[in-house]
Assembly symmetry: C2
DNA sequence: TGAATATATCTTGATGTCAAGATAAATGGA
DNA sequence: TCCATTTATCTTGACATCAAGATATATTCA
């Protein structure tokens, strides 16, 4: 009987006309996300990073040499708006972790690249980040992990296609 | 091969020394949460509510008669900081959805109560909210839903106890 | 009783986010 | 060629959130 269960019990008492079966799963996803973010941020802080800045640096790092992408490509990967990305890049540029140069092939665009300092920082941070993620999932066996991944993958695929069919 | 898989593939190419097995599950949790929040907000907007205000009103509503709690109790249920709760209550009070009166039994505290308008609004909103949640999980069978719930519950319990043992 | 401590809530300042609109450059057709 | 449209990015303004500190009241215990 965790907090989510108590919430469901309250709804069943107050609104017996509602079927709150799915609320449990959805509520647990949200609470898990909070815990995961908090745990992630504890590591990020050691490197003077936020989730926002880690997200950008990691995207550049894993894109491979020359560790450079356009703001638009970064927006696609990170799923934030252009205004948010501008703000993130401003901070990272000020911190000396990225450079922002006009794209010589497209006057509208920019090229965002990791500096040496940015590369070293994100490489160290991601190493600890991955170790941290291992710890977070210690409670589940390899089998359970795979089961969970497959269920989440199926659900996510369905949500993605619902989202897309909505646009039309 | 969804976006999360592509991220893992990039890391495996760039940092073959890291084992990113758990990153998939964690990444999918995050992406799912984004989708779920967006879908929730579409319903909330119809009632001129945000996730923040829905959260508070729903907590009051399901607490049962007299639909009144202290700010501290609301903080416990919603897991936000006191500053955030003050801000939420300010808006809800201005909108006429709650009242905020001094607690006659404890001069430091307040009693936050649903107004009639607040009660009617949250009752209508939660009905549609629950129907919306059913739709979001249509892709999974009852069996899969139960499996997923049980895995999430186990993981969440582990994260909760990790959190608590950290305090010491 | 009084002082020290704890509790409840609010205030302040910094971040981070989005939606909508502005600006500038590129592109596609007439 | 040149105008209309599209694309890439930045700007602005409104919120929401947190951490840290302020304030007022309660409680504890010497």
């Amino acid at each position: 009987m965790d907090k989510v269960d108590r919430i469901l019990a309250q709804w069943r008492r107050e609104r017996p006309d509602l079927d709150v079966t799915q609320m449990g799963v959805i509520g647990r996803i949200g609470r898990l996300r909070s815990h995961l973010s908090a745990a992630h941020e504890r590591v990020f802080k050691k490197y003077d990073l936020s989730l926002a800045s880690f997200d950008v640096l990691a995207t550049l790092r894993r894109s491979g040499p020359p560790y450079a992408l356009s703001p638009s490509e970064l927006i696609d990967w990170t799923m934030v708006t252009s205004g948010t990305m501008t703000n993130r890049l401003d901070r990272l540029e000020k911190a000396g972790l990225i450079t922002r140069q006009r794209n010589p092939e497209d006057g509208r665009g920019f090229v965002i690249a990791l500096t040496d300092k940015g590369f070293e920082l994100i490489d160290a941070a991601v190493t600890e980040h991955v170790a941290n993620q291992h710890q977070m999932l210690e409670a589940l066996s390899a089998e359970e992990l795979e089961q969970l991944d497959s269920l989440l993958r199926k659900w996510l695929a369905a949500m993605n296609s619902a989202e897309n069919s909505e646009d039309s």
